[in-house]
Subunit: 120 residues, 2 copies
Amino acid sequence: MAEDPEYLCPVDVPLHHLGGKWKLIVCFYLLQRPCRNGELRRLIPQVRQKMLTQQLRELEASGLVQREVFDQVPPKVVYSIVDKERAALEAVVYPLCEWGIDRVGRHGGRILTTTLPTDF
Amino acid sequence: MAEDPEYLCPVDVPLHHLGGKWKLIVCFYLLQRPCRNGELRRLIPQVRQKMLTQQLRELEASGLVQREVFDQVPPKVVYSIVDKERAALEAVVYPLCEWGIDRVGRHGGRILTTTLPTDF
DNA sequence: CAGTATCCTAGGGGATACTG
DNA sequence: CAGTATCCCCTAGGATACTG
């Protein structure tokens, strides 16, 4: 995540910005709608708070996710996809989703969550 | 890489099969044309032989890459994308490439290799 | 040429506890 | 609620050497 890094080839770029263990999953959910910290934790039960925070910060540093703090008690923080990056991000995440769905169809496996519950 | 794994969400699937440090990069080059072991090593100078072999084996296990051995001296081994998976793989790798190229255009950075030299 | 076989370490990431 | 702060483990992956 250096200033002006050199990438070996084009796919190297997304690898640097989305390569974390949880980043794509977080983006998958945030693309559906903005989420609070606790929502993301419930959507991704296996992730630890530390990791979630870290990955969110890195996505923020990449300019893909924005963090909005509401100054109130109890605290409220909402994460969302940066508007300007949404289209580009969708163009990369959706094909990944389709590949995933297509693949389990042809090779087996089970996908637990495809869409995000609206009232989560 | 279990038999019939459970995936949290659709992007989780590509994460499991393409999530290695070098897999996407290897696929990027193999999508252009079949390559020998040594070619891949020269194309990806940072990768260690051990890692290259390991990632290739995992791609093979995922049914994405096939390994052809020519029984001759000196040995010749050619890796290539499995025909049936090519279209699906392209549908996911190309958008990643475009995102990469688009992103360095808008945010800075330098991509060293975009296309593979034909006579490599 | 195309790999194994060892050895080893950095840091990614888990668990638990605490705070504004 | 939304996080830090520690501690610690483990394994992905690096370095080096050897082989059919």
